[in-house]
């Protein structure tokens, strides 16, 4: 299990390749990558604030829950903070499991918890001004399925 919280950019290709290489024996690998969307050209950049210390702990706890709940060979979470340009990767999760159902379920679980339970706050810097992204009811509701 690997958790990285960083301001540096990362490359989905490089991370995916090394995750698969280390997940020898697993039959199924799922990755999710979140990218800064341009919102129809209105977004210039995104700024992500986080709570150093708590962030790493919260993500590790979420990942440990996933490892305990599904039959996983490995899991990876990378989440960035700081200023990100449109199109840049914000975060990724990867899961490796003997079977696809476990790999998919664990990746969706990790995403649902990262959305609402990891201490990150997104601010959109756009043509129309600067705004904190509001939490969505549907993201909170998504936790109920687990």
């Amino acid at each position: 299990m690997q958790v990285r919280v960083q301001s540096a950019a990362f490359d989905l290709g490089t991370e995916s390749a090394s995750f698969v290489a280390s997940a020898a024996g697993a039959g199924a690998v799922v990755t999710f990558t979140g990218l800064v969307r341009d919102n129809g050209g209105r977004l210039a950049a995104m700024e992500i604030e986080h709570y150093p210390g708590m962030t790493e702990k919260a993500i590790a706890a979420i990942a440990e829950q996933a490892m305990a709940r599904w039959s996983l060979a490995d899991a990876l979470v990378i989440h960035r903070h700081g200023r990100l340009a449109v199109g840049e990767p914000i975060m990724m999760v990867a899961t490796a499991a003997p079977h696809r159902a476990d790999a998919f379920a664990a990746a969706e679980f990790l995403m649902d918890y990262l959305k609402s339970r990891a201490p990150f706050w997104k601010k959109e810097i756009g043509a129309d001004g600067v705004d904190w992204v509001a939490a969505k009811d549907e993201d909170e509701a998504a936790l109920k399925r687990w």
Binding site: Y51, I90, W121, K123, V133
Partner: protein
């Protein structure tokens, strides 16, 4: 003495990322009441508790939780990770 941290728009409204607070508040809600009584900017930041979250020593908690033994309290809006 307790370390109090503010994030996102809570930090912006209060104008500080963190401060040390001398308090005898028994619960988080008591601490919020004390801070709100200090100055308008605190009262504004804490006006709607339903739109706030609190962490005690870096664990999510609730406003009725006791503060005994707690070293670090953080206030912030609902998280928007992922």
């Amino acid at each position: 003495m307790i370390e109090v941290l503010y994030f996102a728009w809570v930090r912006e409204r209060i104008g500080l990322p963190r401060e040390r607070v001398q308090t005898t508040a028994a619960t988080v809600a008591d601490l919020v009441a004390e801070l709100s009584a200090r100055e308008e900017r605190y009262a504004l930041a804490f006006a709607d508790l339903a739109s706030l979250r609190v962490a005690l020593d870096q664990e999510l908690s609730s406003f009725d939780a006791p503060l005994a033994g707690v070293r670090e309290v953080a206030f912030f809006p609902p998280m928007t990770g992922g």
